[in-house]
């Protein structure tokens, strides 16, 4: 069988795993595809590679295609998010100096309670907190703004969020350019390994069902290549299912650690995949078994309400019309394509394409077109909910 080659860009992160597993574990081949995985040096170059046609698809920060649809940032090409590749998977860390202050104030580094960690941070900081994130449009930035604002550190007075490329995060921390960071694994664990910081919270503690990365393609490409779109979506979806099945984590860590992918020791990558973290250089361990989801709880379904949440946050911060922004964002998350191409493969399809974000305290059964769908916990740390319907 001749395989159709597709170029797909990724950033070296643990959550690029579905693309890497799709190629390495034969899920792409099952769909007659050969994925040429291109490691991108930065989020902006990954976006440009996709927008200008150097690659057909990419592993993209969920807020990037939304920002592009709002006409913000360097490039404004129409991009479609075909599916959510991963939910959560980021980690917040602090410098050793800040960690010591938090400890002196009796913070327990429980790695769970965002309200308590927020309160402790406020008590430990006198000057505006400088926090590094990988990109201005990222779930990292959105989670931090949300958390710190609700904790009493609103931007820009209380906090300054800056862009620092993930591989330089540890360096920026030790050079005292930032006090804290929010980054995707394995870069948080790398900072611990380098002895320059301590992990404070998983991003999940702020929003337990935050869409982190999406499978992104150019919108015109979907119309030109409807069959290929479906094949790519299925290959990546099956890889996510494989990753979430028990016992595959060691294999996945080994694959990701290869020189052409993350080029890092598998034991560091393993921490994000299994949710077993070393949080400081004294050897304290914390577990978060749901640190990242590649499949469970309909993790891959691109909810239009997720896109609307991202847009409403960006719009509020930059002074754009909220309703217009939310509408533009909805059309980016392609639940229509998800229904068309993945229903037959066994993906559970929810009855609706929007939901109240933050409204699910624990696993809850909801209406589905096929089979039985249990949605995972979906709540914001402060108990607020986001209702995407127009009248709200």
């Amino acid at each position: 069988m001749t395989l159709t080659r597709l170029s797909v860009a990724f950033i070296p992160l643990t959550d690029a795993a579905p693309l890497i597993a799709a190629e390495e574990m034969g899920f792409a081949r099952e769909e007659g595809l050969k994925l040429d995985l291109v490691r991108a040096p930065s989020w902006s170059s990954l976006r440009d590679m996709l927008a200008f046609g150097r690659v057909e698809a990419a592993h993209m920060l969920a807020p990037v295609p939304v920002a592009m649809a709002l006409g913000i940032g360097g490039v404004a090409s129409p991009i479609s998010a075909l599916s959510v590749m991963s939910v959560n998977g980021t980690v917040i860390g602090v410098s050793n100096e800040l960690a010591n202050k938090l400890k002196a104030n009796d913070h327990d580094f429980g790695f769970r309670d965002a309200a308590a960690a927020g309160k402790a941070l406020v008590a430990a900081t006198d000057a505006p907190l400088r926090i590094g994130v990988p990109f201005p449009f990222s779930m990292h930035a959105e989670l931090l703004y949300y958390w710190l604002e609700a904790s009493g550190l609103p931007a820009p007075q209380g906090v300054s969020i800056r862009t620092v490329p993930p591989p330089l995060m540890a360096e920026a921390l030790s050079a005292n350019e930032i006090d804290a960071f929010c980054v995707g694994e394995p870069w948080g664990s790398k900072a611990v390994e380098a002895g320059v910081g301590a992990l404070l919270l998983p991003g999940r503690a702020i929003w337990s069902f935050a869409p982190e990365k999406v499978l992104a393609v150019r919108t015109p490409w979907v119309a030109e290549e409807p069959a290929l779109t479906g094949r790519l979506m299925r290959a990546v979806w099956k890889a996510g299912r494989w990753l979430s099945a028990g016992g595959e984590k060691t294999t996945a860590s080994e694959l990701l650690s290869r020189a052409s992918y993350l080029d890092l020791a598998p034991e560091i990558i393993d921490r994000g995949l299994t949710g077993r973290f070393l949080i400081n250089d004294r050897g304290d361990m914390r577990d978060d078994p749901h640190f990242v989801s590649f499949h469970q709880g309909a993790a891959n379904f691109p909810w239009k309400s997720q896109a609307a949440w991202i847009a409403s946050r960006i719009a509020a911060r930059l002074g754009l019309d909220r309703a217009v922004a939310m509408d533009a964002a909805r059309s980016v998350f392609r639940s229509d394509l998800y229904r068309r191409h993945l229903g037959m493969s066994g993906a559970i399809l929810p009855g609706a394409s929007e939901k109240i974000e933050g409204g699910i305290a624990e696993g809850t059964a909801v209406a589905a077109e096929n089979g039985r769908l249990i949605l995972s916990e979906n709540r914001f740390f402060d108990g607020r909910v986001f209702d995407p319907s127009p009248e709200n």
Binding site: P41, S42, S45, T163, P165, P166
Partner: protein, 194 residues
């Protein structure tokens, strides 16, 4: 007489930076400034409010420049990447060469064009140099491997160098692999057995 263009080149490597500046000087009488220190990059650039920022496409620091697109009011004065989007061939050439540029939105294409052309030529030269270096290194590594494999064969089978090389070449042809691959397999196996 139009005012000079203010150009910032972000490049930590001093030699490379100087070569880029030289080419840009040839492209016109512009005001060129190099930033080699990446800490607080966006702030340093914003202070100078340049017309054009040129940065290596493969540098991870590019993401720090994205903040510039939000520096002022995001929709009033966007900073476009890859200049004029209507000029597709220039965009493609820039990506190919590894140049990325941030340009103020109201800069006229005819003012940008010579600067970009100069940068693209220079970056293409860098890329060729890098490719050649990588190729030389690879060839050297392969030579070393083949020499070691030849040595192993000569010792194990009591044959001379030409015969050892012929044997490697024949095996490679039979298996449809490269000589260097066969040599690597032999060297690995020998290391495991010794």
């Amino acid at each position: 007489m139009e005012s000079k263009l203010s150009i910032i080149v972000v490049e930590p490597d001093r030699d490379r930076a100087l070569m880029i500046v030289d080419s840009l000087r040839e492209a016109g009488d512009n005001d060129i400034h190099v930033i080699s220190e990446i800490s607080s990059l966006a702030r340093r650039i914003a202070e100078r409010s340049p017309d054009i920022v040129i940065v290596d496409l493969t540098s991870p620091t590019r993401d720090m420049l994205e903040e510039l697109t939000l520096a002022t009011s995001p929709l009033d004065r966007p900073v476009a990447v890859f200049a004029d989007k209507s000029d597709d061939s220039m965009t493609k050439a820039a990506i190919e060469a590894g140049v990325s540029a941030y340009v103020v939105d109201d800069l006229r294409p005819e003012r940008l064009q010579p600067v970009m052309a100069a940068a693209i030529t220079r970056f293409n030269m860098f890329r060729r140099m890098r490719d050649e270096l990588a190729e030389t290194k690879r060839a050297l590594e392969e030579r070393k491997l083949i020499d070691r494999a030849k040595g192993l064969l000569m010792k194990a089978r009591g044959i001379d160098e030409d015969a050892a090389y012929s044997l490697l070449r024949k095996t490679a042809m039979d298996q449809g692999r490269k000589i260097s691959e066969v040599a690597a397999a032999l060297v690995t196996a020998a290391d495991l057995l010794s």
